[in-house]
Each structure stands twice: as C-alpha cells, then as structure tokens.
Symmetry: C2
Subunit: 383 residues, 2 copies
C-alpha cells in the first residue's frame, strides 16, 4: 500500500486578521506550503473548515480556494467535523493518496471567526454539539467542557489549581512561537484567579478563538523522497467518532473516539505511547488536555493532570505537549486547528522548531477533537 | 487497484418533511440501504450536506448521524461542495475504498430546507456562489442561471419555448416515481406562461427545493460479489472545479468542470457518450441541462436544447435524462441530490426502476453540479 509523506507546510499567524478575507488567509498558508515544497504540482485540495457558511456567508470553499490559489480546475472539497475539520481534511488526503487516484494533495485548514461581532462565533460553535438536545438549551462548547471538568474534579478529588500546569506550559511554549496569539507568561496564581467563563472553566483555561490558516502538501513517500530533502512520513492515520451528546456517552470522563483513533494510528505506525516524542493534543480546555493524555495511553484514568503538576508535559518532560503553545496560547482557529497541530509536529521532526524545539524528536502524535471528543482525528508522524 | 461497487441503496420521498428532524431523515434512507444490502457491517460514513449548519443549526453531522444510525464510533465526516455535496461525498467513499483503509462505506446525502420560513433557504444557497463578488450583491443561484440562460438565448438564437422540453420530460418521468415532488403533467404552454423567478428563469424552469435523504453502501467489487446478487460497479469517478464567480469563467456557456470530470470518469470506465444508456444530470435549471449535455459530449455547443426539442431525452430517445423526474420534478434536496442521482442510476441498471425503467440499461452516468458548475462530481456506473 502507498505510504504517504508531507513535503510542504505553510501557516499564517493566529489572531485577528480584520483586513484579510478568508480566501486570502487560505492563500497565504498555501503559498508558503507550495514554496516550502518547491512545487505547484497539486491534484486535489481538501479544505478543513467549520464556520465559513455561518460566519462569512461563504460555503463552497473548495472551488473558491482552488481558483484563488492558481490551482483552477483541480478536485476540491470541504471536509467538516466541527473543531476536528482540519484533522479530518488531512485524513481525506491520506485516503486520496493511498487510493492511487490522487498523486499530490493540498490540505488547508482555514477559519475566520472575527468578522462577526457579539456572540456570533460562540453560537456558531454550538452547531458542533447536539443541536436538538444540547445547543438549543443554551449549551456551548465551554459549557460542555465545564460539565466535564466539574465531574473530573468530583470523581478524582482534583482542585481547580491542579489544572493550572496545562495553561502555564502552553503559554511558556508559545513564548517561542512568533505566530502564536498569546506569548505572555502565565503563573499558576493567574490561572486560579481568572474570570470564570462557565464555572469552573475560566478565561485562562479556555483556548482563544482566532483567525488563521495552515496548509500541508502530501504525496506518496516514494515521490516525496525525490522532491524534498526532509519528507515527514504519515506513519498512522485514523478517525473515529463517539456519541455527540455528552449525556449519551458511555462515560463522560473517557474519550472513546480519542482512544480508538489513537490506538489505530499507533498500531498502523507500529509504535506505542512510549515511542512518542511529542503530542500536539486538543487543549481547547485544560480538562480536554488531561482526558486526551489518558485516552491515548500516557496516563491512567484520572491521572492525566498529574503529568502537568509534575512538569512531565514540558519540553524536557516525559511527554511534551502543545509545544508551540497549543490551542490555549497559539490560538484556536477552529477548523484550521488540526492542520496547525500536524504542521507543528512536522516542524519538530524536521528540527525546524526554533525556540520550541524538542531535542531529537523522531516520532510525534497529533490529535484533533470535535464536539468535545465526539470526533477524533489522530495522526502519527515520523522521520 | 480495488474496484468499487454499490451494494445497497435507500431513499426518502423528496418534499416537505415538517415533522422529521434531519437525523431521522438521514436514518430512514440509511435504514433502507442497510436493509437493501442485508448488512450493517460499515466502517465509514460520508455525509453529503450543504446547509444544516445554516438552516438547522446543526454541523458535525458525521458523528451525529453515525451515532443515531446505530453505527456509533465509526469514522464519519461531512463533505461539502455546495449543491455538489452529495456527489462529492460519494467521491470520498470511492477514494476510501480504493485506499484499502476502509472496507465498506456508507454515503448519505441529506438536506432539510423547509425548517426556516421566508427567504432563509435561498439566502443560504447563495453561500455556494462567490460571497464577495456575487452573493453580497444579491445574486442567487437562480439569478446566476438567468444570466447564463439569457446569454445562451442571445448567442445561439434560441427562444424561451425551446427550453420547455426539459421540464416537460422531467415531469412526465416523475409521474412514474411515487417519491417525486411533482408528478403532474406539464405542457409546453405551461412552461412559457409560468411566473418569472429571475427572468428568463421561471417557476417551471427551476427545480423546487425539498427535504430528503438518500443513501448508498459501497465496498470493493470483490466483496460485493459475495454479498449481493446485483452489485453495480462504479466504473469511473471524478471531481473537478471551475472558477466560482461566473464573470471569471473562461466562457460562461461552457461548463469546464462538467466536461473535465465527465471525460475523466468515462475514460476510467473505458466508455464514451455513445455507450451511456441514461444520464442523471443536474437540471436545477433547464439551461444547466442543456449545458451539461453539451459539456459531456452528447451535443455540440449551443445544440443541447435540440435534444429536448427532438424528444431525444425521453425514455426511448438517444440519451434519456432525469428518468425519475430529475431535480426539476423529483425535487432538489441540495446536498442530497447527488446521492439521489446515483441511486436512480443504480435502480435503472438493476432493472428496478418500475414505470421509469429504461429498457436494457447497462451503463449510466450521474453528474452533480455545485455553484452552477463550479464543482462537478461525475460517476459512471455499470453492470
């Protein structure tokens, strides 16, 4: 079976791009990725996006972005799986390359959330939850995370302060990433004193929404070897789902989809948690970071938070996470986030992570969640 | 390379399903398809949908529908390419099966457009056009079709009445399809006298929007042979794009994406236009029917309308189209339409088309357009 590799990466800063339209935002990332691969020979485009229809009145991004990027005519579609849209778009590109029908695919995650004022973005994000049983009653992703966090604290005897390490680590790492939204230092005391968003989730617990775009170019490993000096192999790829509504899940404190897709991706790559040098996980909320570490085999149930307390998620720890700031501090451009995560692992494995570099990283994991874990797209990358 | 076949089909009537939620609508089609294949062994779900986020406040349909259909946990995503979302979802399923990573895939196209009153659906449909250069100035899909139709009439010296044959044929065929929206007979005089929507596009020129869902189950042809007595082979599959904005196209009267994807799909199947026994084309407007016939090689430029005038698109004509009523009379459930088209070809090739049957059909073509031709997904089916 065809082996798949990444030969080009590109990204914009995450933040408030008031003067940049969604097509321009996508193009800046694509241009950088095409430059990086030194090739414009692309057959297919997979766009990861969740909210353009609702927030920018623009669907049909496949045809729009292909045309605007000078790739007029190529196969192009949008892939949506709520906040996991970026990871899901990469998954489709992997399937396309492995099918043999597509030779080189471009994946772009793009999201523009700041064009609307007030609560528009938060309301739109609620469409990723169960509309009839959750969102219509006012539940938001932050509200859902608050329910999970409160239950975590109750079941495992953990306090709010015990989650601080995740946010402190994310901001510390973002300090080395000029494209991150928040590069200021965060102290544990800041975390516990932050304004509540949906108690116990607070301002410094929650990843900030931002505009952004990130792009990847993937092709068969065989072709990649001839094209670039540093192809990064997609050694494992999987996507799984769970029940959408929190109240329907087997266990609200266990991310079934995260576990299953991580197990499948790691099995395909022939690696286990001990082989992973860094993990770009979906830290939209600190409780999701803890639950992701547990679901993917880095800690037993109820003990993911201890990795943060003990400094094991830092650059020199047992399992470095959010090495460029994660969603928490790099920023969360929703449907683009999954592509940023994979791009960041690629930079680490190429040794191009600058101040964020994890020494000697050869194997990395990226996991993108949608609907607080109802979809999980997981990729193992290796050199 | 793995060959792909369809082993199960299911659909709901197209119409106003006031009392059925989007998840139920999808499930009814899925249930019928699983029954038809006599198997619930499915690995992956590809949902074709355009407007659920905007009209039903529900994104993340992959996880939602997988769960609600008793397929909890499987890989599931939404694929969007405006009105071509259904065809694009099938295309992803084909790539997935050919990749070898997915054994059996379920494709469901689903759309619920009647939950909102007033112009909500029409405004939402405008998100499939170029937002910054077309929709923001008030252009709608019907308005864009009107510009194309007026230009067609001008360039080729054709009158409004010359398009009547398309609508007359569609309604005549729908009379044999109990699941169609409009089964009444239409006379040429009705067509020319109909109320204008966007002159020269009139009420009887334009396909009615409706709620609906259609499902397909696809697997490798090798497996299919063991599972069902009547697998239908996907002999060719292609998706191509064109510039989104009409004013940017090379020629507003030539559907580049339709031509390219049809050529690719027919080449893969080793057939040409003369081998096609029926053609489910995207007759959202009569001018699109004429242009699709031309782009796919059934008539020279400017002469597609003559096939309608000469009765060559009827059941016994040279190239039967819209055999169950097409978008015009079966109804147009937007993101589900492309799946309906393929399902209808399957029914013809199985000899299960009832009153709509084309005698001895062995090869059929289905083409789903988005944004008046900016995306085209084309499939050749054969037994």
């Amino acid at each position: 079976m065809t082996d798949v590799s990444i030969i080009g990466i590109g990204q914009t800063a995450v933040g408030e791009h008031w003067e940049t339209s969604i097509r321009h935002l996508a193009w800046y990332a694509i241009e950088a990725a095409l430059d990086d691969a030194a090739s414009t020979d692309v057959d297919a485009l997979f766009v990861g996006n969740m909210l353009a229809g609702e927030l920018s009145r623009q669907d049909h991004l496949g045809a729009l972005i292909a045309d605007f990027s000078g790739l007029r005519g190529i196969e192009a579609v949008t892939v949506e799986a709520a906040e996991a849209s970026g990871g899901a778009a990469l998954r489709q590109a992997v399937l396309a390359i492995k099918s043999g029908l597509v030779q080189t695919a471009l994946v772009v995650g793009v999201e523009k959330v700041t064009d609307q004022t007030g609560n528009a973005a938060v309301t739109a994000l609620g469409t990723g939850l169960d509309g009839d049983y959750e969102a219509i009653h006012g539940l938001t992703p932050a509200g859902a995370a608050a329910l999970m966090m409160r239950r975590y604290m109750h079941d495992y005897g953990v306090t709010l302060a015990d989650f601080a390490g995740f946010s402190v680590n994310a901001n510390a790492n973002a300090a080395g990433n000029p494209l991150a939204m928040f590069r200021n230092q965060l102290k544990p005391g800041h975390f516990t004193a932050a304004a509540p968003i949906a108690d116990p989730v607070s301002l410094f617990d929650m990843a900030p929404l931002g505009d952004g775009a990130a792009a990847l170019i993937v092709t068969s490993t065989e072709r990649a070897m001839d094209m670039v000096p540093w192809p990064v192999r997609i050694a494992g790829s999987a996507l799984a789902t769970d029940r959408l509504a929190l109240h329907d899940r087997r266990n609200v404190l266990w991310l079934d989809a995260a576990e299953r897709s991580a197990r499948q991706a790691m099995a395909a790559a022939g690696v286990g948690p001990d082989d992973i040098d860094l993990f770009e996980l979906h830290d939209a909320f600190t409780v999701l970071a803890a639950l992701s570490l547990e679901a993917c085999g880095f800690a037993p149930a109820g003990q993911g938070w201890q990795l943060a307390r003990d400094g094991e998620i830092g650059r020199t720890g047992r399992i470095p996470i959010s090495t460029f700031g994660g969603l928490k501090a790099r920023g969360n451009p929703v449907g683009a986030t999954g592509v940023y995560q994979v791009l960041e692992v690629v930079r680490q494995l190429r040794g191009q992570a600058g101040d964020c570099q994890i020494p000697n990283a050869t194997t990395g994991l990226a996991q993108n969640l949608g609907g607080n874990g109802a979809t999980a797209a997981t990729h193992v990358l290796a050199i």
